[in-house]
Symmetry: C2
């Protein structure tokens, strides 16, 4: 059953190493045709951009499109029980129609941000 | 003379406090009709998103459009003289045609990420 684009796979970026999330995104892109949405909040936003850049420039070059990127503000309750606003980002990574998705392996050197 | 959109004002996000850049963006939006592009690299990317969220949700609510957001990889020479890849983001903030740009003052509370 094809997945609804609006409820497709999501990869949340947290405290693990960048490459952990890179492989999650590559695996999700391999598993289906729907956009994979990379999401992050707060300081993890920079890592989310790294993840998508490594995916599209080293692993899935020419095989995916990125965007439209959206940003938002979420209201969270922090550890002290107080409400705080935190920025968020959502970056869709969409397989190009007809593109051959490369299998994960040794990516070409010198492309994408250093992990 | 109207500015060329492709060479319009740019606010680079660095190590200063978030609100410093918020006021720079608000001032630039006030001074003209062209998009103001908020740019950042590496860990400053999260702060760039904070800046734009505070601008559009607290200071210039309803008066600007955000996007299309683009991400890229830049090749830099770091302090040790070695080349390194770093992710970057560019977030255009565009005044809405006909919208009244609010003057900077006390923003409504509870909107936009906490600075």
């Amino acid at each position: 059953m094809p997945e609804d684009d609006s409820r497709g796979p999501v990869v949340f970026i947290g405290l693990k190493p960048t490459m952990t999330y890179v492989f999650q995104v590559v695996a999700q892109v391999h598993s289906g045709a729907s956009p994979v949405v990379v999401k992050a909040r707060g300081n993890a936003i920079a890592k989310a951009v790294d993840v998508v850049e490594v995916v599209r420039k080293r692993f899935l070059e020419g095989a995916v499109d990125v965007g439209p990127i959206t940003i938002d503000t979420e209201r969270l309750v922090n550890r002290e029980g107080r409400e705080a606003n935190v920025s968020s980002i959502a970056i869709p990574v969409t397989p190009r129609p007809g593109a051959t998705i490369p299998m994960p392996g040794n990516p070409p050197k010198g492309a994408g941000p250093s992990p």
